[in-house]
Amino acid sequence: MTDISQTLGSAPAAPSKHGSLFEKDARTKKRNAAESRFKMYGIAAIGIGLLMLIVLVTNIVTAGTGAFQQSFLELNVELKEDKLDKKGNRNIEDIKKVSTFGYAPLIAAAVEAEVQNLGIQTDLTPKEMGGILSKAAQAELRNYVIANPDEIGKTVSFRFLVNSRVDGYMKGRVTRGSIANDKSITVAQLDFVDQLRDAGVLYKAFNPDFIFGSDASDQRPEAAGIGVSMLGSLFMMFVVLALALPIGVAASIYLEEFAPQNRLTDIIEVNISNLAAVPSIVFGILGLAVFINYMHLPTSAPLVGGLVLTLMTLPTIIISTRASLKAVPPSIRDAALGVGASKMQAVFHHVLPLAAPGILTGTIIGLAQALGETAPLLLIGMVGFIASNPPDGLVAGFLSPNSAMPAQIYEWSKRADPAFYERAWGGIIILLIFLVTMNTIAVILRRRFERRW
């Protein structure tokens, strides 16, 4: 044995045509270099993509988180009976006759009392002191009194929104320099704000009204919230889901499993693919012409928005459903038909359950796409509408005018007051949270129900 191994070890390498395997020839080196170059390009591309994503997310988060915080001023308001209910019989109709304007003196008095209480020295008039509060404060107070008429005559503690300039000052967006030409706030008022902040009654806190509240007019950015447009989006998604899923799945099953292969089905197939690529604004015009001008459905209603988005989502759902039906191996259909199942039994008992995760994924992605769509809503009047009241009831939710999340964001970004800019970014954060959640659900469903055969 030793002899053999020795001869093997010491045997001179036979002169091979290809040279030694231990040395790379020029051609191999070149190929390897090309391969590693290509890998580098790939890594660079991914790196650039990630960098962009990081920049985008940081930008959105830094610009938008401010919207979730708002500055509040705590006050004890005495609900004077002689101002609010002169007759003193707590008749709700009489109380309602006092307009928001009538509540202004109460708030001014409360600010004055608070200033004396805290021992703050200021030269401001009570009106100027009250000026740091939001115009929404009086309405808030009035709503409270109308809801609780028994509280009249008592002193109640409130947490009022301050106006957007003061809020901006608290967040660092507004400075003494930047308000030089601003008529709505003075340097003296900012000094007063500093004193209140040091006293601990004016502070920043989490503002749930931004998430759950309704939009507000141009004058009161601090009171604007996305909640009502979120409801609008929700009602639209109901419509889309209720129409696009059954219609899309039924159409796909018929086309994929039952329809004969002929010129007509070919034309339908090509047109479905074309529809998926049609710009969404075209669907908006179609919706305007058909649903509003011809069928006279209410403008700005989530029902119409949902119908338009259904048209837009259908091709996406049909294409993904057909793809997942196609992915079910024909052997499963053969097996079912072979034991005497009818075509419909084969499809519904065996093919559809296997295709379900794909169909669900396609549907959720279609819904997410519809949720973020703005352009078609522009044409049916859901953009620019100020959704100031939450709909009362289910029917009103579908039929009464509303906005949608992306439309609301677009609306805020158009407005002049820089405080709305912050809210637009905040709205984007909420919208993105919805989209990411939906896509995550899609991925989880696909993973969980994915079957191998």
Binding site: Q261, I332, D334, A335, L337, G338, V339, A341, W453
Partner: protein, 265 residues
């Protein structure tokens, strides 16, 4: 090739189960099956052999109208099952397929439990009145599929988790669960290893006592081992049809002889 000696196996004249007369099959413009006349007997294993693309699988799929699922396929001529033309307008292919079961080349259990795989056919045909009856049918079918002992403790396990040979026997059990009269097998062993093949072949021999079995196979040894009758197809024609022993030892047609001796194919 020792099986060749089994010439004198019992071949008494039995009832004709399926009679095909002048069957033509077209795929679009291609004439895939030309003038095939064949008579398949009851309680007999009939093997279809021939080179790839000769039309034996196509012809097999005509016998339970599985070709209906292919749009461009057209069948002419008569195929009579117990004297009834299965291509008659009044025939519902679904009912036909309950009578003529099929086992495919690749084991294709449903991605469900073993129990559900077998119970599916009886369920859709309403063969069991209650759970107990269904249990009984499932057990009987799995026994006939010679797989009961291997799976009786895990009927809830997915059918796709079995080995290839077990899957194929499960598919046979599934096919016999609907109480068919004819069992069509399209190369049932081509995806199996020799041991699984032997098991399935043994099973086919047992099935012969109840059903008329038609098997398509590429393996001439297999045809010789399991069948009593053999049909040799070549280029869409039925070249020769007769007793298996006869075909393999003393073929009449020179093409048959060249094929079984390995000169064409």
């Amino acid at each position: 090739m020792n099986d060749m000696t089994r010439v004198e196996r019992a071949v008494d004249s039995k009832a004709i189960k399926i009679a095909a007369n002048k069957v033509q099959v077209y795929y679009g413009d291609t004439h895939a099956i030309k003038d095939v006349d064949v008579q398949i007997e009851d309680k007999t294993v009939t093997a279809f052999i021939g080179p790839s693309g000769c039309g034996k699988s196509t012809f097999l799929r005509c016998l339970n109208r599985m070709n209906d699922t292919i749009d461009i396929c057209r069948v002419e001529g008569d195929i009579l099952l117990d004297g009834e033309d299965i291509y008659d307008k009044r025939v519902d292919p679904v009912q036909l397929r309950a009578k003529v079961g099929m086992v495919f080349q690749k084991p294709n259990p449903f991605p469900k439990s073993i129990y559900d795989n077998v119970a599916y056919g009886p369920r859709i045909h309403g063969l069991a009145k209650n759970k107990a009856e269904l249990d009984e049918i499932v057990e009987k079918s799995l026994r006939r599929g010679a797989i009961w002992d291997e799976v009786k403790d895990r009927l809830d396990a997915p059918g796709t988790g079995l080995s290839g040979g077990q899957q194929q026997r499960l598919c046979i059990a599934r096919a016999v669960a609907t109480e068919p009269e004819v069992l069509l097998m399209d190369e049932p062993c081509s995806a199996l290893d020799p041991i699984a093949t032997a098991q399935v072949e043994e099973l086919i021999d047992e099935l012969r006592s109840r059903y008329s079995v038609v098997i398509v196979t590429h393996s001439m040894q297999q045809a010789a081992r399991v069948s009593q009758k053999t049909a040799f197809f070549h280029l869409g024609n039925l070249v020769e049809f007769g007793e298996t022993g006869q075909i393999f030892t003393n073929p009449e047609d020179p093409r048959t002889e060249s094929y079984i001796t390995g000169r064409i194919g």
